[in-house]
């Protein structure tokens, strides 16, 4: 702003007996938080033979998430961290390998420790993100509504006297919203949440780590194991395709390796229950060590 000319103008105005010039705006300068949803490196490039205990490789072929919205704030302080504008594309079905950007601008400087992510099944107003088609959306919405689909091919290099022969398994996982975490909260990396500074944008990466669905314990640092999925198919229809239904029919009590226990410490459940519980730990916040923890389905926890 050219203050000299404005001062001259105001001076002139005062000479002719005008009302005062409009006062300055005391509103604070604002900042921005930009979340970029991505897929983890293993979700993008696959799980290699060396990554798993059984030397089973996994290639992810289809990853679809039903995203609803994000929340930024401080619990108990509803006026903090409010943003200006449309915010970001909410209610969208997307492939995290193609990315999704959520920009929240016009936020007054503040510490916003409570960041949450809400997933959910698509509805009539859902839009399509990059890398998905309306058939993905319909598949999520049809039947028991779901908010995530993960499909992969596992390749197990079996050793035999005849040599090495690969055995493949198609893994088709559909996470219904009734039994799977939809709200992820308490996002933290080195610090909790985000910090808004004036005239600055904090770029935050949020990664979907599909590989965490193959942990052998409820932990993001547990070993990766795929063998139970082969066993579930063997226990089921042996068609080389394992579905969530087959995982639900395969009790954890039949797995004698790893630490396949549900969050309550029991093994009274199925492999399907276990994988759905692992879904709570599939969101990485800022770094691979950062995390947003999914709610326990039916607990009513808010993100």
């Amino acid at each position: 702003m050219k203050t000299r000319s404005m001062r001259a103008a105001c001076f002139f105005v005062s000479l002719v007996g005008a009302p005062a010039c409009v006062p300055p705006d005391e509103a604070e300068e604002t900042g921005s938080i930009e979340f970029t949803f991505e897929a983890s490196a293993r979700t993008r490039e696959g799980i290699s033979f060396d990554d798993t205990e059984e030397r089973i490789a996994v290639d992810f072929e289809r990853v679809v998430l039903g995203f609803k919205t994000m929340t930024i704030g401080k619990i108990g302080e509803p006026d903090l961290c409010a943003y200006r504008g449309r915010g970001a594309a909410s209610d969208v079905v997307f492939d995290p390998r193609k990315g999704l950007v959520q920009s929240f601008n016009g936020i007054q400087p503040a510490d916003c420790p409570d960041v949450g992510i809400i997933f959910g099944p698509p509805g009539a107003r859902t839009t399509l993100g990059e890398g998905v088609s309306s058939s993905d959306l319909v598949e999520l919405a049809t039947g028991r509504p779901a908010h995530a689909i993960v499909e992969a091919t596992a390749t197990w290099m079996l050793q035999s006297s005849a040599g090495t022969r690969p055995r493949t398994l198609a893994i088709k996982l559909r996470f219904d919203s009734e039994r799977t975490a939809t709200r992820f909260a308490g996002c933290r990396a080195a610090a909790r949440g985000v910090r808004v500074l004036p005239n600055a944008r904090d770029a935050v990466t949020v990664r979907f780590a599909a590989e965490n669905l193959f942990r052998d314990a409820i932990s993001t640092s547990a070993d990766l194991r795929v063998r139970p999925f082969f066993e579930a198919d063997e226990s089921g229809d042996r068609d080389g395709v394992v579905t969530m239904a087959e995982l639900d029919d395969y009790p954890l009590s039949r797995i004698f390796y790893g630490f396949y226990q549900l969050p309550d410490g029991t093994r009274r459940g199925s492999l399907g229950d276990f994988v759905r519980a692992l879904f709570r730990f599939t969101i990485q916040f800022r770094t691979e060590e950062g995390i947003c923890v999914g709610n326990e389905p039916g607990s009513g926890e808010e993100g």
């Binding site: 702003m1 050219k2 000319s5 404005m6 001259a8 103008a9 105001c10 002139f12 105005v13 002719v16 007996g17 005008a18 009302p19 005062a20 010039c21 409009v22 006062p23 705006d25 005391e26 509103a27 604070e28 300068e29 604002t30 921005s32 704030g73 401080k74 509803p78 903090l80 961290c81 409010a82 943003y83 200006r84 504008g85 449309r86 915010g87 920009s103 601008n105 016009g106 400087p109 503040a110 510490d111 698509p122 009539a124 107003r125 859902t126 839009t127 399509l128 088609s133 309306s134 959306l137 319909v138 919405a141 049809t142 039947g143 808004v196 500074l197 004036p198 005239n199 600055a200 944008r201």
Partner: protein, 681 residues
Amino acid sequence: MRTTPACARLAIALLLSSPAVRAQPATEPAGAEPPPPPVEDVVIRGERSAAGAAPSDSLARTEVRQLPGAFGDPFRAVEAMPGMTPVLTGLPYFYVRGAPPGNVGYVFDGVRVPYLFHFALGPAVVHPALIAKTDLYRGGYPAALGRWAGGVVEATAMPPAERLHGEAQLRVFDAGALVEAPFAEGRGSALAAARYSYTAALFSLLSSDVTLDYRDYQMRVAWSLSDRDTISLLGFGAYDFASQRQTIDPSTRPVGLDPRGTSPYTVDRVLFASEFHRADLRWDRTLPRGGRLRAAATFGFDRTRVEARRAGSDVMTAARLEIVQPLSPEVTVRGGADVVLDHYGGDALGPFADDDDVVRRQRAIFVDRLDFATGARVDAVLALLPRTEVVPGIRFDVYGSQDARAFAVDPRLAARFSVTDRVRIVHAYGLASQPPSLPITLPGITIAGLRGGLQRAVQTSAGVEADLPEDFTASVGVFHNAFYGLNDALGNARIEIIDVERSDSLLDKSRGSAYGLEFGIRRKLTRRVAGILSYTLSRSMRTVGGRRFVSSYDRPHVLNAAVSVDLGRGWRAGARYVGYSGIPMSPATPAFPEQIVGVPPERTPAFHRLDARLEKRWRIGETGWIAVVLEGLNTTLSREVTGYECGTELRLPDRPVTTPTCTERVIGPVSVPSLGVEGGS
């Protein structure tokens, strides 16, 4: 969480501006000035407008007072004229023969003003007693008017009075007064007027966090240097302010960020603020044979602040020269030249103050720069044949903004043929050009760099005027306007006025056309039973990217009907009906094949409202008077449907399909009651 800046966005949408340059003396000796092209003289005090102005369109200022819903403001009276299509009830923003509100120019006594009304439904920014007449030019206007591609509203100040006089108003929300006194035995005259709103105090009494305030002022000093020369200084301005108080708690901030300590403090966050000030120093000289010359220099300052720390300002410096010279009883030449420098300053949105695309677009608007416009024009009033008057004219304009330059040549032609003493045929044609504009213009804020080039309009109209018995006058006409390079985010996109600042079509260009029929009949409002009726039948189209469609603010039917009755003993009552068609609707396109979108009606419902006015007036002495006025805009508390919110459904193989419905988006009732006391002498 999300902020709801609707208040601020509405504020942004609530002021208009346009540039202008033209000046004419307030009154002319009878017969001194040949008739101008057809205009609608809405307000005249004293004698009628110069010969040739359509008498059916003339109203005395006292008559304007009687127009219900106009609150005595001459500028509001123009909305009752044919060709005016309202955007939203009560708001003084109009499409004029298809041209968007941003293409409508406002001029007060030869000086361009950014807007004519205070914030929202506020009163006019010029005291009504200072306005001698207001002309509404809907198209094909004189060469003296330029740099707009739509209509022009031109108000002329009252000439200096020869006696001490004054007026005052006291209303629920504001008070205003005007006083003028001659001095030095009539060689000089001084005038001062002001209006002050006490809304801020009222809000404060209500312990509101919101501050709303408006003021305006006018002053004029004139001095006769000789019988032929007069020098005068006209100053005026207006101020509007709306803010919200906010408490900041430093404990919620990142550590070390807040230099003001740890105790909570309050700040005033501007939602909307604007001001403009003008000083016009002019020298008027009377030339032989009734000619006149005016040389004037104008200094102005405009500023707008809107939410998110955006501000735009304009320091305007201008000079103009105007001459009117009758060469013979049949030929009068009018000419002029001017130059306007606009030094714009802009505080754009901060880098992350709004959605990235909004920030990017608005950086094309809030730009520090020096713009200029200069031009010359000439026309001639030719009455070479009996009962015939032809006014050919042309104006040349050069525009500059940043590195961009543009040149416009705008020819004009108007003609009036008197078929009989009571019946006239009127034609008006012209090309009009305008730099890029916002659909709703704000003081000090325009589109920089002549982005997209000039807007141009080809304006044509023809009609018949007739003087009827019993003081009735009538006019009927047809018009066709074609627009090129138009900036009309409102008409191009299905957005509401409060969303215009965020529209991604804010900088888009379009083509368009508008055609229609205008009909008006009125009986002088000074008669015991008086009235005015105007009707416009029109169609407005837009073309964007090869797609032609009906403008989003196309309203085929607009009807105004007002009646005022003198009840005797100083009582006068009036009512005005305003009705217009809804705006066109179209269903949203499904985002994907399985999505079913609700289908709204083809148009929103028609809107109707009734304004009313009741006045009791007492005379005091020879010239004094006092009146109590009760007036209401939209006494029927009508609500206007601005659009539809349509549901969507998903077509799923395992569920029955239901048809989504649409619900009305309604605004209002926008209703303004007013009780006041007026007096003067």
